[in-house]
């Protein structure tokens, strides 16, 4: 497997888009830390980057890369290589390069300016979010052969998780504000990797006071070690489940 991962990784790292993405992440992180004396504000800027830019770039880049390597996949399939191995190698290659771009771009300034538990946690969450959206890209691109359709699905997925999901949650909160739904809200966040990441980091930034009573419930739940472990395992599930569905589909795909 290593041989194929290496070929894919080298190919992606040579890609100008990935280099540009790393540079932009670096520019955003360095400048947001450099402009303010207070590292908390810099952290909030990077949080927004993690919540919007990282998912978008990861899912779009991975999808386009997968569609563009259809020839390469076909070529590999006529060789003595397991299908599972081809798909796993692509996944590891793409995930590794997205994670690497994030660590070099945003991770280094994070570790320099905020080398405490929050900084490290942000780094881990950023890496996990990158991988989650690469996994979602695999799922989306196996659903259809049509590249334009595939990219459309991917953009909808991103819009849903980045914007729509929040809207729906807010709507529910207002509509059902007479009922004790705070505990249910904790459950609902599990359905969006971005929200999981956001709440996890906000709580550690001590901004939870702004979230009112719900914030208190969140703090009660996510603030504990159990909650922390649970929310990280939920993020990992967001990697494993989409990828395994796509792997199953790939095994029986006609090329």
């Amino acid at each position: 497997m290593n041989r194929i991962i290496k070929i894919i990784l080298l190919d992606i790292l040579k890609n100008k888009i990935i280099i540009g993405y790393t540079l932009i992440l670096g520019l955003l992180s360095w400048s947001s830390f450099g402009l303010e004396d207070n590292s908390a504000k810099g952290l909030l800027t990077i949080l927004n980057v993690i919540l919007f830019t990282v998912p978008l770039v990861s899912i779009l880049f991975a999808t386009i890369y997968l569609y563009n390597s259809s020839e390469f996949i076909e070529l590999l399939l006529s060789q003595p290589i397991k299908r599972k191995k081809i798909w796993l190698s692509l996944f590891f290659g793409l995930s590794l390069s997205m994670v690497l771009a994030f660590i070099i771009g945003a991770g280094i300034p994070l570790l320099i300016y905020a080398a405490d538990s929050i900084g490290i946690m942000m780094l881990i969450v950023g890496c996990l979010i990158s991988v989650v959206f690469v996994a979602l890209a695999f799922l989306c691109s196996i659903l259809t052969r049509d590249k334009a359709k595939g990219i459309g699905i991917v953009i909808m997925t991103w819009l849903y998780f980045a914007l729509l999901f929040d809207g729906i949650v807010l709507f529910l909160l207002f509509q059902l504000s007479d009922y004790p739904i705070e505990k249910a809200m904790v459950l609902i966040t599990a359905f969006s990797p971005i929200d999981l990441a956001r709440i996890q980091i906000l709580l550690h930034l001590d901004q939870s006071a702004m979230m009112g009573y719900t914030g208190a419930i969140f703090k009660d739940f996510f603030g504990t070690t159990l909650g922390l472990i649970l929310s990280f395992s939920l993020l990992c599930l967001w990697v494993v489940i989409p990828f395994f569905i796509s792997l199953r589909k790939f095994k029986y795909k006609d090329l």
Binding site: R3, I7, E71, S78, Q79
Partner: protein
Amino acid sequence: MIEIKNISKKFGKLEVLNDVNLTFNSGECIALIGPNGCGKTTLIKSVLGMVIPTKGDVLFDQKSVLGKYRYRENIGYMPQMGRYPDYMTIGQIIEMMKKIRNSNQELDEDLIKSFELEKIFDKPMRTLSGGTTQKVSATLAFLFNPDVLILDEPTAGLDPLASEILKEKIIKEREKGKLILITSHLLSELDDMITQIIFMQEGKVHFHKTIDDLLLSTNEQKISKAIAKILKEKKNE
């Protein structure tokens, strides 16, 4: 060597292969012919495991190929339209295939030399003409000395000189006792290469005969004429 047992394949409602049974043995050079869309490529791709049959099984050396991959070490495949990563050069593609196969076997670099690919090793794949891409595909198919060669329209797009080189190479490999499967439309090109012929129509095997049988039963000298005669007879029926 390869046995195809009751294979059927449906793409949605479209039935591409319908209960196909065939046996190929080593030392044979078999031509797979038939009109466009009769299921030749699908049949070949199910042998390669690229298409998964709806029903039936493919045996390679008496072992089922479904879900397996090791058997492909013994197959060299030349696709109808070779599609390669655009940004890679010819040299990089060949190097990459060597790495992926990772075989200790002696490489067969005859075609690299006779097609003079070394001169254009640093040309990216996207700048190549259809014919040159075909040359690369052919080279890759023969490179690892496989026991079975599956060639999908090998001479389509090649210039007369190159297709002559490829034909000679095919005959040479056949004489070494390899199994060679060719699909083609150009019947006139097949004359001195093949030993058996399979005619497919609408996903079914119409006939599977040795060349001698075919020529004898139709009283013709050339394959193309013999096939034409059979088709005419069928029309008149």
